[in-house]
Amino acid sequence: MARLIRTEKEVEGNFEEVWLVVEEDPLEQWPGGPGDVVGRPALRKDALERVRGEARFTADIQLPGMLHAAILRSPHAHARVKSIDFAAALALRGVRAAVGPGDAPGLEAEAGYAGAPVAAVAAETLGQAHAALEAIAIEWEKLEAVIDAEEAVERGLLHGEPERYERGDFDRAIAGADVVVEGTYRTQVVLHNSMETHQSVCEWIGERLDVYTSTQYVWGVRNEVARELGIAADMVRVVCEYMGGGFGSKNSAGEYTFAAAVLAQRTGHPVRCALTRREENVAAGNRNATIQRLTAAATRDGTIVALGGEFVNALGWGGWSASTEGPLKILYACDNVRTTRHTAKINTPPMKAFRAPGFVEGTFGLECLIDELAAKLDVDPLELRRKNYASSNDGTPFSSKNLAECYERAQKHWDRRHDVRARSDATWKRGVGMASQIWYGGGGPPSYAWTRVGSDGRITVVTAMQDIGTGTRTAMAQIAAEELGVSLDRVEVSLGDTARGPYATLSAGSSTTPSIGPAVRAAAADAKRQIIEIAAQRYDLEERVLEIRDGRIVSHDGNLSVALEEFLDMLGSAQILGKGARGPNPTGMSVLTFGVHVVEAAVDVETGEVRVERVAAIHDVGRIVNPLGAESQVEGGVIQGIGHTLSEVRLLDAETGRVLTTSLDAYRMPTIADVPEIVCEFIDKPDEHLTNLGSKGLGEPPIVPIAAAIANAIRDATGADVHELPISREEMLRALREADRRKSGAGLQSVAH
């Protein structure tokens, strides 16, 4: 019977209460450790077509009669359109239609940042569309622009009220502490730079709108487009079978989708609207900069008694304010915590979620400060972390937490530090640093899956999710194969189309596997139940003595053993259909992921160059479905995190607010030559309270601790405290000079920067 419940759902650290219909009897979790398919390395189901260039991305969609749209963007950081005239643009060859402020969602008369979308033109070729943008006559009224986040906070230019949190008595704890350390940490704006830029192709077919789009959330785009255009949701079909990366920036429809939809409607042609790389670096979202003024206090025995933070999220014109204080609140056992977060509204491009938003930034500050505290207490940084281990999330029990085991496994990597330091010479100083990881990643309801079993004994999993490159398609196939007792090559997964499959949640917040995996397992179990039932009738046996193993229906006494395809052959064109839904998360429990990174780094003390030489990444994310894909996720997160730490920074012109780093030679992402040795380890213990699968997400955790671990390795190597990302040569040399000053002024009380 369908049962209606109220449950909590979390995405990217944001919680909401949702209604949920629960139908299935919950399945028992599989035992820990590798099964027949789940827990064993699997090659990607879609690797071949991606490697051979056959996978059709949104960028590759070419429809008959398709037009190309280009977007006019504000050159001013803050301005209002006084007048706009398309006549000259529309008179140009090939130009078919133009839309301005108010004509399509996302195109607005008030431009809050340089790069804000204002108008769009559709033409037969992209070149013609870009030429037409030049011919638009536009008159601007310039408005005051504020670029500096601290100025915005001082002047009260904020998104919402400051977020305040307090537990215990912070002031009293500080007063009673033996050691207090303070530090100001700054993190920079970084850009997602997915290889496939944000883009959509829209086509009206009768009253239905087909949207091909590069997205992390086909259902979200469907609902947003329907709402904004005022049409029924099921008259919008959103398709994304292959997509070229998102990292959090592709969770919503975007102005390019709306412009394409409206221009397609006006012209009667399909319209593609694709951001150029330069637009991508301006207007496709970013990880916002932060300023963190942190305090940690401890008693002499190393008990952390107070943690405090004043945070500024320099959000830009839009986006949402992530919990930069999150790690400080929940990573350590600490009775007295006080945080305030200001969210500056400035005339810079809007923030979008970027791989563990808030926690990446907050972990850098917190975990650097913890090492400074360890130094002041003269205790081992790993010991200090162990000593202040949190056994609950402010009183709420964890559904599972194996961070202690992560620390245990980190020990052997940590013990290398004496040898690593010994490899230093006059120029290159070497050291080892560590940092802990905490983040969400439990997923949640709703998500659904269907299974279709044919008379050939092959299984198709149907669910309208998307695989953004994380290997979700493969993980879902593994889960279905495990449940149905067949090999992986018998299972296909149909995804990426809202018209062809049930709702599945977004591929963000490390939620795909923990959200959709349990639904797939339930759908596979439903099909298996039906197969067993009809086999029992066919062979006149009791259901309870039958199971499917290695692709065969077998009885426990061994008398029956028939290949699945042989048995199902009688069905002809008939099919067995299973359905499954994601159940709720455990009530009254905190579902989080944990881990630790140990980094070996080398610093050239003459030039300030920093090299990461080795990273050991140990993560606790529940059951690992595909160890091979999981390793790839960790490597990718570590490498992206090294970019965030050492080379990536979006630069603005302080006068105009325009982005200067719009090309990929100006915005420097890691290449293959920048990759250190990376060692991945997983605790791989199912979370016994979380779903029928016990898996949490892994997309984000590996990028969380890397910056702090690098900074702490630098401190170990040189004694210098870096406080800013990226750790440019300039910042490195500044920190080295400061460390020198501190050394020469020994005896004075040392106060962190």
């Binding site: 090659l43 990607r44 879609d46 690797a47 071949l48 991606r50 490697v51 051979r52 260039g53 056959e54 996978a55 059709r56 991305f57 960028a59 590759d60 070419q62 997602h192 730079n193 997915s194 290889m195 496939e196 830029t197 292959y242 997509m243 070229g244 990366g245 990292f247 150029t276 790389r277 953004i468 490159g469 994380t470 290997g471 091979l628 894909g629 390793e631 790839s632 490597e635 990718g636 997160g637 570590v638 490498i639 992206q640 090309s663 990929l664 030679d665 992402m669 890691p670 290449t671 293959i672 030559a673 990759v675 990376i678």
Partner: protein, 143 residues
Amino acid sequence: MKLVVNGNEYVVDAPIGASLASILRERLGLTGTKIACNEGHCGACTVMVDGVPVLSCITLAHTVEGEITTIEGLREHRLVGAFVKADAVQCGFCTPGQVVSAAALVAANPDPTTEEIRHAMAGNICRCGTYPKIEEAILHWRD
């Protein structure tokens, strides 16, 4: 103009100033070659001209005289299997360009060292960070 691509000769009516990448993708339907930056910074558009890796997004179609090899001409290359086996693909958008660059490398140097791989492949950006697996795939491409 005439283009020889993957052993086939094509007569194309290409506008002056058109990039090789745009002609391959839009006129010849060879969409395996990707355009990710369109200004020669990322390597996603890499093709070979007479065996030499070339950035097709900043190459004018009219200037190409040699034989072009795109990912479509390398579908049976052993590197393809090596990439699949090593899990050297995540979102896959840069991957065809990676395979073309790697094919040019191993044609010139069938047993590249790690350093040689890093040198030859440093122009191909992968935002997902599949680099360790790419390195592994190229090191073991004949296995």
